[in-house]
Symmetry: C2
Subunit: 335 residues, 2 copies
Amino acid sequence: MAKAARGPSIRDVARRAGVSPQTVSRVLNDFAGIRVATRERVLEAMAELNYRRNLTARTLVTGRSNTIGMIGPDIPAIGPLSSLHAVERAAREAGFHTLLTSTSPSPDDVAGALEFLLGRGIDALVLVAEHRSVQKAVDAAIGELPVVHLLTGGRPQRTSISIDQAGGVRAALEHLLALGHRCIQHISGPLDYSEAQLRRDAFRDMIFSAGLEEFPNIEGDWTTDSGYAAGQQLDPRATAVFSANDQMSFGLIHALADQGRSVPGDVSVVSFDDTPESRHSLPPLTTVHQDFEAVGKLAVKVLVARIAGEHAPPNDLIVPWLVERSSTAGPRASA
Amino acid sequence: MAKAARGPSIRDVARRAGVSPQTVSRVLNDFAGIRVATRERVLEAMAELNYRRNLTARTLVTGRSNTIGMIGPDIPAIGPLSSLHAVERAAREAGFHTLLTSTSPSPDDVAGALEFLLGRGIDALVLVAEHRSVQKAVDAAIGELPVVHLLTGGRPQRTSISIDQAGGVRAALEHLLALGHRCIQHISGPLDYSEAQLRRDAFRDMIFSAGLEEFPNIEGDWTTDSGYAAGQQLDPRATAVFSANDQMSFGLIHALADQGRSVPGDVSVVSFDDTPESRHSLPPLTTVHQDFEAVGKLAVKVLVARIAGEHAPPNDLIVPWLVERSSTAGPRASA
DNA sequence: CTCCTGAATGCTAACGTAAACATTCGTGCC
DNA sequence: GGCACGAATGTTTACGTTAGCATTCAGGAG
C-alpha cells in the first residue's frame, strides 16, 4: 500500500505559530482583523512546515468545491476538445478548477461519469457536445446544480450557451446560393449528436425555402476518414457541399482530389468550425467560425453567477459568422 | 448564496434501513459478512433516498482519492490534447478519474495548478508536453507521489513514458536521405518545450553525422500560423523540410503553395504526429506516428502499479514509426 | 443450562477544515 | 480607577465517511 503520507495540517501550523487552528484558518481565508504580527507568524509557520491546505476537507465542510465538472465526448475531435479547453481556461481565470470526464454514449458510462462528478461535490456542470443519451441522464440526476449545455444550439428548458447553429448554417448556405449554386449536398455529423441534427435541420429548411432539390444526407462521424468516405458517395450532380465540420471537409476534399476533381473548381465546399487547420489547408476553407473561446468564457461567467445565487441570465446565443476563404466559387458553366 | 442542498448521507440511509451507519458503509464497500437480507434492505433504502456516496468525505478519511491529476499545456494543439484525452480514457478504464489543469508556463500558474492538484489529494500525477518551467516546479513540490512525464522523450531521473523522439527523427531523416536530399531545413517547436528541443537536437545529430550543411533552425510555436510564417523564411536552397509537428506542416505547405512551389514536387516535407488531419491533407503527409493512445494507456498502467506500491518499472520508451504518404519525393534535378 | 465461538452488527473516534459562538484583551471615556 | 466596547483570538461543533475496537447474537459443545 502507498503510505498515507499526510502532510502537516492546520493544527500543526497552529501549534508551531502558537495560535489556535481557527486563527490559521482565518489567515488562510484572508479574514480581516488579524494582527499583522500574528498573520506573519502563521505564514512563517506554514512556510517552514511546507503546509498545503487540504481542499478535500475544505470542500467537505463548506459544501463548495470551487470546481466545475465537465462531461465531454469520447472522441478526440478538435472541436469539442477546444471547447473543453476553453472552459478550463476560463474557469481557471475565474478562480475555479475543472474536473473532466469524457464518456462514451453508453448509458452506463454516462451514469458513472455523472456519479463521479456529483459525488465529488462539483458546484456546476458543463456539458460539451453531448450525445443525446447524456442529456437524458443529466436531466434525471441533476437537482439544483447549475448546468450549462455547450454548443448544442438550442435547449430552451435550461440555461445553455450555444452557438446559433441555424444562423451559422444560414450564413453558409446564403453564401453558396449567392454564388449561384443550386445542387447542394450535405454531409452531416452523427445525428445522435444535437449539433449534427440542428445543422442538418437548418440545412433542410434552407434548401426547402429556396425551392431547391434535396439530395440525400450523407451521415459522417465527424472524422476525416468519414469525410473521405462521404466524398466517394457524393452525388455527381452536386456542385457544392455543406459539410458539418472541418475535419470531414478535409477528408472530402482529399477524396475529390483522388477523383481528379478540384475544390472549388469542380465542387465548392463550405464547412463548420474554423479550426486552426482550416486556415492553412489547400484550399483554405470557407467555413463558419465557432468561437470556442468565447463560448467557454461565457459559460463560466453564467455558471459563476448562478453559483453565487444570482438569477440565471436567459439562454445566450453566440452568433457565428462565415469566414470566406478559397474553397468556394461559382458553379461550373457545365453544371 | 447557493443553498447547500446536501444530499442524504450514509446516516439517513442507515436510519431508514434500520441499521447502523457502519453497516451501510460496509455495504458500500462490498465487505464480506453482511447478511443478504440486511444488504438488500440497505440497498433499497439507498435507492429510495436516491443516495449518492460522498467522495470528498471518503477521500478525507482514507487519504486516497482514486484520482489522477493531469497538467497539460495552455495551447489548444491537437497533439497534447489527444494525449490528455487518452490518459483520461485509460484512467477511466482502470477505475480512476482525472483532474485536469492546464497551465501557462508562468511559474505562478504552474505553482497554482500544482497546489490545486496536490491539495485535492490526487494519487498520482501525469505531465503532458511540459514546459520546462513545469518540470522544475514539479520536482520541487512532489514528495512520494507517483509521477509520469509524458512524451518528453527522456528524463532518466524519474519514471517517464516517452515516445522515442530521437528514434522518430532518425526514421524521418533516413527517409529523406534515402530519397537523395542533401539540403534539409528544420522547423522546430518552441525550444522551451522538451519535445521541441529533443527533436531539434536529434535533427542536428543526424545532419552532422551525415556530413550535411546545417541550415539555421526556424523556431515555430506549434501552430499552423507559425508554420506558414516559417514557410516564408525558408532557405531557397532547401529541398526538404523536417517540421516538428503536423500543424506547422500544414501552414508550411500553404505558404509554399502561395509561393507557387509544390509539395513534394519542389520541396519535400516530413512531419511529426500523424494526426487524423495528416491522412487527408493535400498532399497527405509523410509523418512520424505518435501513438497517443498507447502512451496514455501505458502511463496509467505504470501509475496504477506504483499507487499499489509495486516497484516502478523502468522508464518505458515507445518507439514511433514513419508513415510514408505523399509529401515526400526525391529532390528535383535542378536542386 | 452455561459457556464458548465466530458471524453479524454497532459504537466511537478521527480525517482537516470552517462556522458559530465564546472569551480575552487593550483602550478610551467618564 | 472602573466600565464598556470593539478588536483579536480561542473553543466547540459539524461536515460524511471509514478504521478499529466493542458488542450482540445464535448455535453447538460440555
